[in-house]
């Protein structure tokens, strides 16, 4: 099968280019990451990130035939139907909107900076109880669909609002995490958290395009979380 991979080494290349490879999968519907490993055997100058190879660590987010996803849990048949039959090529590019360090490896600093801004940790100034801070099962349920995020950045780098203002708009991943703590019954910083979100950019730059929802490999819904935060802001203001 044909594989076309974005290549760029800032030290030697003047500009990025697409490089074609021919890979034999033995007709098997492998994961995209397996194909990358086969390419690496042919050409070990090609760079990409991966660690867990089972959709847990979030390091191999990339743009696969136009859609962001994790290479390790995206089968060829889903990534590019027809690719095994040779009808089309598998096209791999780095996550859009972030600076490329090399080939498929991007610099995630802007993404992490936004994550840091939402203070993604429990804030509670009451003395810690002897064992742990308990939650009722109902309260615990409220953070389902939020805590599972693996920070792969597939969502934020598919969001046009994040492309245009990655320093001002927090992006779906950071906002999902912001809501994860706003929704946590043990967290007491609700008001300060909301107070930091009501400017025209941090949250309100979300235009409800829902690219984030369609790419999240964990099936999470940042748009819904953003909607919940907006309701909290509205309630607090009126």
């Amino acid at each position: 099968m044909k594989v076309s991979i974005y290549r760029y080494n800032p030290e030697t290349d003047r500009e990025p280019y697409m490089k074609e490879y021919e890979v034999d999968t033995g007709g098997k519907d492998l994961m995209v990451l397996d194909v990358l490993n086969l390419v690496k055997e042919q050409d070990d100058s090609m760079g990409y990130r991966r660690s867990c190879r089972e959709g847990v660590c979030g390091s191999d987010g990339m743009n696969i035939n136009g859609k962001n996803g994790l290479a390790c849990i995206t089968p060829l048949s889903a990534a590019a139907p027809g690719v095994l039959e040779g009808k089309k090529a598998l096209i791999l590019r780095p996550l859009p909107g972030l600076p490329v360090i090399r080939d498929l490896v991007v610099d995630m600093t802007m993404f992490y900076n936004q994550y840091e801004k939402v203070q993604p940790y429990l804030q509670n100034n009451t003395p810690a109880p002897a064992i742990e801070r308990l939650q009722s099962p109902e309260d615990r349920e409220k953070i389902d669909g939020l805590y599972e995020c693996i920070l792969c950045a597939c969502c934020s780098t598919s969001c046009p609002s994040f492309w245009w203002n990655p320093d001002k708009f927090l992006g779906p991943a950071a906002l999902l995490q912001s809501y994860r703590f706003l929704a946590d019954s043990r967290d007491q910083a609700t008001d300060e958290r909301l107070g930091k979100l009501d400017d025209p950019f941090s949250l309100f730059r979300c235009r409800g395009i829902m690219n984030c929802v369609s790419v999240c490999p964990k099936g999470l819904n940042p748009t819904r979380a953003i909607g919940h935060i907006r309701e909290m802001l509205l309630e607090r203001a009126v």
């Binding site: 245009w164 203002n165 979100l197 400017d199 025209p200 950019f201 941090s202 309100f204 509205l234 203001a237």
Partner: protein
Amino acid sequence: MVTSVTSLGRNGLSDWLVQRVSAVLLAVYTVVVLGWLIAQGEVTYEAWSGFMGCLVMQIANTFMIVAVGAHAWVGLWTVTTDYLTTRQIGAAGTVVRLIAQLVIALLTLVYVLWGLVIIWGGV
């Protein structure tokens, strides 16, 4: 976390509310006017001018013109801060954006005032 002196309310929530409320007003207005046009069948100048000249429509038109102005400003301000930035068009971004915002603000203001003169001018 981000401050912006050129935004209308300097606050995302109020901008957002302005846009939603004005959108609802515009939708209701459109339905009413379309409904009138359909009910009227053949529209003559007298009928149209009589309809638009009545006090209820004068008030509705006033709301409408303010809603259009506010909606347009929030929307276009957003567009300028998405696309006319140093990230998108290089070093001149900030100056270009300020000029664009100034032009948009002036035009919006002129259109709203002009609209008000048209609505109330004949009284």
